[in-house]
């Protein structure tokens, strides 16, 4: 089983997770910029975070044989803090960079006017930078938030095949599927969606424009939930090609629209523990080579 996890916050995960993911077949990930649990209060901390996603985290993933990409955006929750509004002004620099495969996560959290303003501006930026969009749908009042999301996508004029609407469930999948947008599902240990419900949805709607992710972050989550979904599919009669389509070909097809996937980039040749990033390795000084610097 080869796995492309299209939504995972590796910044919050350990090297043990990277090792377990590689062993289970995960070879590529997309890490969306999002909330870190602790609210940020300045543009500078976002800039450092974006630099970390595109620099250190890509390097760290490569040490474990996993190719790392990022999506960059001002997330809806922090779009409500006026001190963070200036993030929108630095986004163009980051949306121009290699390895940035979408604008995201954008969308709604509490459905405020500030969130909507940031969402619309970032949908426009996606067009200006020729990037797809990764949309977060809210935990609260999900159906209304998802419906409003689809309205905005249409109003701004982003082609639906370039939009992935994430964190869907039984109540939101049909409206997103019917809109022409991609349907994303975050498979969690006990919220959002689980692998068995996911198989039911796949059985009903098929595999077209479907992706699943672990959305693993700093909360209770499991970076192997993509693999578990593949196993549940096999157990219920899907064949290996279907699993490969859901866990690899579909997310590759979606993010390849950016023209910036790095599938032959750092990490693609397997684990490499000898490299350094800006002079730092993940090995805390213990180098497997004999060279002394």
């Amino acid at each position: 089983m080869r796995v492309f996890d299209p939504h995972i916050h590796m910044t919050s995960r350990t090297t043990g997770d990277y090792e377990a993911m590689y062993a289970a077949g995960v070879r590529a990930v997309v890490e969306p910029a999002f909330w870190l649990g602790q609210p940020r209060t300045s543009v500078g901390s976002f800039v450092d975070y974006f630099d970390g996603l595109l620099g250190w985290e890509r390097f760290r993933a490569a040490q474990f044989g996993i190719v790392h990409h990022a999506t960059i955006a001002l997330n809806p929750k922090e779009a409500n803090d006026p001190r963070c509004a200036g993030v929108l002004d630095v986004l163009p620099r980051y949306l121009a960079k290699d390895g940035v495969v979408a604008v995201g996560e954008v969308g709604f959290d509490s459905a405020t006017p500030e969130e909507e303003k940031a969402f619309i501006r970032q949908l426009e930026l996606a067009g200006e930078h020729d990037l797809p969009v990764l949309v977060h749908t809210p935990h609260r009042d999900k159906v209304a938030g998802t419906s409003r999301t689809l309205d905005l996508v249409e109003t701004v004029g982003v082609p639906p095949e370039r939009v992935l609407v994430d964190h869907l469930n039984e109540t939101t999948v049909d409206m997103v599927g019917d809109s022409g947008c991609w349907m994303g599902f975050s498979i969690y240990p006990d919220t959002k969606m689980d692998e068995h419900r996911m198989v039911r949805i796949l059985t009903e709607r098929g595999l077209e424009r479907m992706v699943v992710n672990s959305a693993a972050d700093w909360g209770r989550s499991d970076p192997l939930k993509t693999v578990r979904t593949g196993e549940a599919m096999l157990a219920s009669g899907f064949d290996a090609d279907a699993v490969d389509r859901l866990l690899w070909s579909n997310p590759v097809e979606f993010f390849a629209q950016s023209g910036r996937l790095l599938l032959d980039g750092p990490g693609s040749a397997g684990p490499d523990r000898t490299a350094t990033f800006e002079g730092n390795s993940v090995l805390r000084g213990e180098r497997p080579t004999t060279a002394e610097a």
Binding site: G55, L95, E278
Partner: protein, 262 residues
């Protein structure tokens, strides 16, 4: 640098096909018309035009610009033309390219500094690069711009840092010209510290010490050959042997150094 007729430096002309050349000239033209465009065109330049080594042996751009560095230098040159009458803004835009750049973009900015008429105003970027442990950035910081503009103390610290992090000293611009007795003293102290720890000393120290070998007399390196500790005796022997090896090879490496400074 380009002119409006679209001529590029020879190395770039040779490395780019007609289509890549056209894309680069278009981007440079966009920046001349609207300098703010450099903020998105500089980061995307490697993807849009070309990337990779310019000299096959120099894959990481330690000795000189990579192909993507050379491409980005054209864009920085265009920025310099667009803001020729507004030096503070030119310095600010250039500094922001570095601040918001990933490691490749930062290295490209450092490599491109000589094409800008900004005197020593970009030294804060060089100082930032010298604070990192990234060999690509440290090497680029001690390229032609840094070696021309850093004061003696900062430049010597930079050269010493190269020895610590593993940047070959042949990558340092104007090493022979700026090397002085104080740098030799610092390097000699470093050599003694390494030997006293029973560790290897990089051969590149001889590029500094060759003209100032007397500074070694201040350190009891020969005494180390009689140390009561085997690792220190061995380290001293390896170091003193390396001097003989270097003196037979130095004429070759000096020629290499000069060819890279063009």
């Amino acid at each position: 640098m380009t002119d409006r007729n679209g001529s590029l430096p020879d190395a770039l002309e040779a490395a780019l096909d007609a289509s890549a050349r056209g894309r680069l000239l278009d981007m440079a033209g966009e920046i001349r018309d609207d300098p703010v465009r450099v903020r998105v065109l500089h980061p995307s330049a490697a993807r849009v035009v070309a990337r990779g080594p310019l000299v096959p042996v120099d894959h990481d751009g330690v000795y000189g610009p990579t192909l993507d560095d050379a491409v980005r230098e054209v864009l920085v040159g265009a920025l310099g033309e667009a803001l020729a009458d507004d030096r503070p803004r030119l310095v600010e835009e250039t500094s922001d390219l570095y601040r918001y750049g990933d490691a490749d973009e930062k290295r490209a900015v450092l490599r491109a500094l000589p094409v800008l008429d900004i005197g020593d105003l970009a030294l804060p970027l060089v100082a930032d690069a010298l604070r990192t442990n990234d060999v690509r950035l440290v090497a680029a910081a001690l390229g032609p711009y840094g070696s021309r503009n850093l004061d003696d103390q900062a430049w010597r610290q930079g050269v010493l840092k190269c020895l610590f992090v593993g940047v070959p000293l042949t990558a340092v611009a104007r090493l022979d010209e700026r090397c002085d007795e104080e740098l030799a003293r610092m390097v000699a102290a470093y050599c003694y510290e390494r030997v006293a720890a029973g560790r290897d000393v990089p051969d590149d120290v001889w590029l500094v010490l060759a003209g100032h070998a007397e500074v070694l007399d201040d350190y009891p390196l020969h005494d180390e050959l009689e140390s009561e500790y085997a690792d220190r005796r061995a380290a001293a022997a390896r170091f003193l042997d390396s001097r003989r090896t270097f003196s037979t090879a130095s004429s070759v490496s000096a020629a290499d150094t000069n060819s890279r400074e063009a």
